[in-house]
């Protein structure tokens, strides 16, 4: 019996805490889980400290007023995604031009496969 735990997902508390249902984390849509997984994966690769992401996430959540205290928070992962993008661009990992171009390809259907 093997358990490939990897390294644990960093804790999030207070404003930044993960949406949960019965104490378990929930994703409402596929894109939310991909956005989640990418941030944790890049953090584990050592591209940034967890605090660098968390600070940006808290800033996003704070900028839109009080966070709804419910299990399924529809905007949490949108904030997550914005914070992730800001971090990537602050770090110079991705630039806006390539991002916009790639996004347009997906929106037009020119590109359909992610990988």
């Amino acid at each position: 019996m093997t358990h490939s735990l990897g390294r644990p997902v960093p804790e999030m508390e207070g404003l930044a805490s993960y949406p949960r249902k019965n104490g378990e984390p929930v994703f409402e849509e596929l894109w939310q889980s991909r956005a989640f997984g990418m941030v944790v994966a890049l953090h584990q690769e050592g591209l940034f400290r967890w605090d660098e992401f968390k600070e940006r996430l808290i800033a996003e959540i704070s900028s839109t007023g009080k966070r709804e205290e419910r299990a399924t928070d529809p905007v949490y992962y949108e904030h997550w995604l914005t914070a992730f993008w800001k971090l990537l661009s602050d770090k110079g990992i991705l630039c806006e031009a390539e991002m916009e171009a790639r996004k347009a390809e997906f929106e037009s259907g020119l590109r359909r496969e992610v990988y």
Partner: protein, 213 residues
């Protein structure tokens, strides 16, 4: 894991435009994969670990092994970080894990007075009360009363030791093995080990309590 691949292939002929946010996520992932910064399977594994493997079951397996294997228990008490790696649990980062054995004479309970340090890889997400200021202060100032509120009445002869977790050290309590469990398999035994019993605010379930669950 090919689930997502297959899903997307099926839809190749009935393409529907992605929402704005889906297009953003697709763009990010495809760029990060191209640059070799992210692997699709690694992201899958993280998501599935977060969604499914989170819970006290990993800790319960460690406790059950300690109950049935005295040599393992000895190694666990000597160096828990190394002992749990025998079971494939290498999920701890810099933190050192220390196992504490509860007996009829000594009862260990765990708190994090500063924040909410917790052996995440073994016990999943910490319960809400673990992070609450009353538990964090009262576990130290009046542990016996706190345990009574959890429904755990300890005899006067039983000494209580409270352990304060930190960024460097996390604790796992090995509860006493319940009576009447001699014939049970390791897997059945793991089903008796509750999260609370591994934080030291409860006992492991008796076989009849487990059936009633």
């Amino acid at each position: 894991m090919g689930a997502h691949h297959e899903h997307r292939d099926e839809h190749e002929h009935s393409w529907a435009p992605p929402s704005e946010v889906e297009a953003r996520v697709n763009a990010l992932e495809s760029l990060l994969v191209e640059k070799g910064l992210v692997e699709h399977d690694a992201v899958d594994a993280l998501i599935s670990a977060f969604e499914n493997d989170v819970g006290p079951m990993n800790g319960a397996r460690v406790v059950a092994r300690a109950w049935v294997d005295p040599d393992f228990k000895r190694r666990l008490l000597e160096d828990a970080t190394s002992a749990i790696s025998e079971l494939g649990y290498t999920g701890l980062r810099a933190e050192h894990l220390v196992a504490l054995e509860n007996t009829s004479e000594t009862h260990h309970m765990v708190v994090c007075t500063l924040c909410s340090c917790y052996p995440w890889a073994l016990l999943g997400l910490p319960p809400v009360w673990y992070k609450s200021p009353p538990y964090r202060s009262r576990a130290v100032s009046e542990p016996r009363t706190v345990l009574r509120e959890f429904g755990l009445e300890l005899g006067k002869e039983c000494r209580i030791e409270v352990w304060d977790s930190s960024a460097d050290i996390r604790y796992l309590v090995i509860p006493e093995r319940p009576e009447g469990t001699e014939g049970m398999s390791e897997e059945e035994l793991a089903g008796l080990v509750t999260r609370d019993s591994m934080i030291g605010v409860g006992r492991a379930l008796s076989p009849s309590e487990a059936r009633a669950d």
